[in-house]
Assembly symmetry: C2
Homo-oligomer: 339 residues x 2
DNA sequence: TTGTAGGCGTTATCAG
DNA sequence: CTGATAACGCCTACAA
């Protein structure tokens, strides 16, 4: 790779002249300009980004930091593409960092591998946040955490989401409802506790308003555990007429009901709080409160870019919940019913 | 951020002493060593990665380059996590580059934003490959392209995959089979043509071997178009007893059959060539030839890392196809049966 | 065992 | 209008 010096030598000028010929930041005589440009062509020169970044103390790249393997591929991809697009539009690069220790994340920032990071799947006591908080490094989280003072965050209104889900079922006439909730959160183990609280508040509000009887069943929020949870639920509480499923559990729930010969929504309604992509293509299509993943990512990226740009932002954005009626909910069967 | 000089000054030694104290590359008196380490602690110093990378002319990061938005979220995520993990294990960072022009990709390499790239979703005449070929920059493709001489590639044996799919149906007794094929590829428009050829070869081989009658229906390989294609297919050729679906079309196919009241596999078998994650959780579970996405990504990353490390690799890896029987295929119904 | 000096490639500042 | 110089932070001969 030729350097700016090579070009300068080739054109018989100084490095700074080459530089300014390429960046028009100061006036150059047309002839010299041509000569330089010709040399640039001849040697196929282009400036070294590393050297530039070293000089500027910036890497022009952002990091997306996810713990372990992401909970949901589809969700992660949607966030990823949206983040990549936003970063790219602002001439930034996006790096992916999975499975990093908090110190590794810190070193990413300190070593200027990235100018700022977006943290996803945050928990109540999130070591990544604790390490970053107080440092001068820009970061934004998508999610919640225990102490959010001074942090820049983007999140979804889970309280309203679950309120809407239960409210919808209640209005259809359901009273006995199964509820698949995030495993572990229940005991406040420090995992995802904030969302758990929000979820609880939404649920309780609808419960009181409509006098609902709910049966809670914890599950890891993946398809397989959703399946198991649904089987436990229907065994424990065969009288329920509807199920509220978090995350991707609804795919497993639908499968469990199908294998038991229960028809959805005739024999049992199912409603989810999940990503639209998954919800729209199950059989039957799932009525759900869709997570606005794309919007969350874009918002988070934009906030981060502003922080990286030196702006002093401490916004906390909460995106609203909207229920989308599809085909998996109906009034409970009072009397047998054919379709 | 403190520099090595700051530490040196604080400890009353020279920068090189600090350096060697931290990297044990030469002997240091215990006392000086302690003093330096104390200063490092005190100032909270850590070496700047940009400066290091500038010196070494390496960024220790790889790029994953995908055109437009990826065809399949789930597939992309699986490749992404596997690639990130492999890169990370080799102390490399992974950058994501969507929607980049061939020149942008080249500049990524030239500017040493990344040390090498993995190209996915390659086409017959892939401008990205044409631009990179002949440059000294390391790159690996996952997929095929027109002229593969000298390239390092990883791909899946699509010929065998489709052969196995048709062979499986033929052995079950099916003779009239619907085949949802990649749209556009048929006409050799330059898109994905290589896989199309392989697909055709596999299909033709099974067809001749078993005397199959197939009805081809082109579709973009997503859920929605799979749905439409299945509707067209069953309208044109109601006598088919099985459908072979590429990519994620099977989800749409299942939905189409469901909405028509055709039971799978009783009234119509469905077999896919797709990712295991999707295949395993449809209703019914899909019999399919699963794409070994994880393995492809790991192999590609490892090859790329070797190239980046200076090794001279021009391997072309073809991963084998394996059929997994689940629940969506069965012998065709010989006698009429209520529908 | 430790310090000095030079270079990686770019760019800003200061002379000319 | 153009050229020389220094500095970004690190690493490594080479010298002491």
């Amino acid at each position: 790779m030729p350097t700016i010096k090579d070009v300068a030598a080739h054109a018989g000028v100084s490095p700074s002249t080459v530089h300014y010929a390429l960046n028009g930041k100061r006036s150059i005589s047309p002839e010299v300009r041509q000569r330089v440009l010709a040399s640039v062509q001849a040697l196929d020169y282009s400036a070294s980004a590393v050297a530039q970044r070293m000089r500027e103390h910036r890497s022009y790249s952002l990091g997306l930091v996810a713990p372990e393997l992401p909970a949901s591929d589809a969700a992660m991809m949607e966030m990823l593409t949206a983040t990549a697009a936003t970063a790219s539009a602002a001439d930034h690069t996006l790096g992916i960092f999975l499975n990093q220790t908090p110190d590794q994340v810190l070193n990413l920032l300190r070593g200027q591998y990235v100018d700022g990071v977006i943290l996803i799947e945050t928990t109540h006591h999130d070591p990544r946040i604790e390490v970053l908080r107080g440092t001068p490094h820009p970061f934004v989280l998508i999610g919640q955490t225990g102490d959010m003072t001074g942090l820049t965050t983007v999140d979804f209104d889970f309280e309203e989401a679950f309120y809407l889900a239960f409210d919808h079922l209640a209005r259809l006439g359901h009273r006995d409802i199964g509820f698949i909730v995030p495993h572990g959160a229940e005991e406040g183990s420090g995992e995802r506790k904030e969302n758990w609280y929000a979820t609880q508040r939404g649920f309780r509000r609808a419960q009181q308003e409509h006098g609902l009887r709910a049966v809670l069943e914890p599950a890891v929020l993946d398809i397989e555990d959703g399946h198991r949870a649904a089987l436990r639920l229907t065994a424990r509480a065969p009288h329920i007429t509807a199920i509220v499923a978090s995350g991707h559990t609804h795919v497993g729930v639908l499968r469990a009901l199908y294998s038991q010969g229960r028809r959805v929504p005739d024999d049992c309604s199912v409603i989810g709080v999940t990503t639209a992509q998954i919800a729209g293509w199950t059989i039957p299509r799932l009525t759900s409160v869709d997570l606005p993943l794309r919007q969350m990512s874009v918002t988070a990226s934009e906030l981060l870019l502003r922080k990286v740009g030196g702006e002093d932002v401490t916004e906390q954005v909460l995106l609203p919940a909207v229920l989308v009626e599809r085909e998996s909910t109906a009034p409970p069967a009072r009397r047998p019913h054919e379709d």
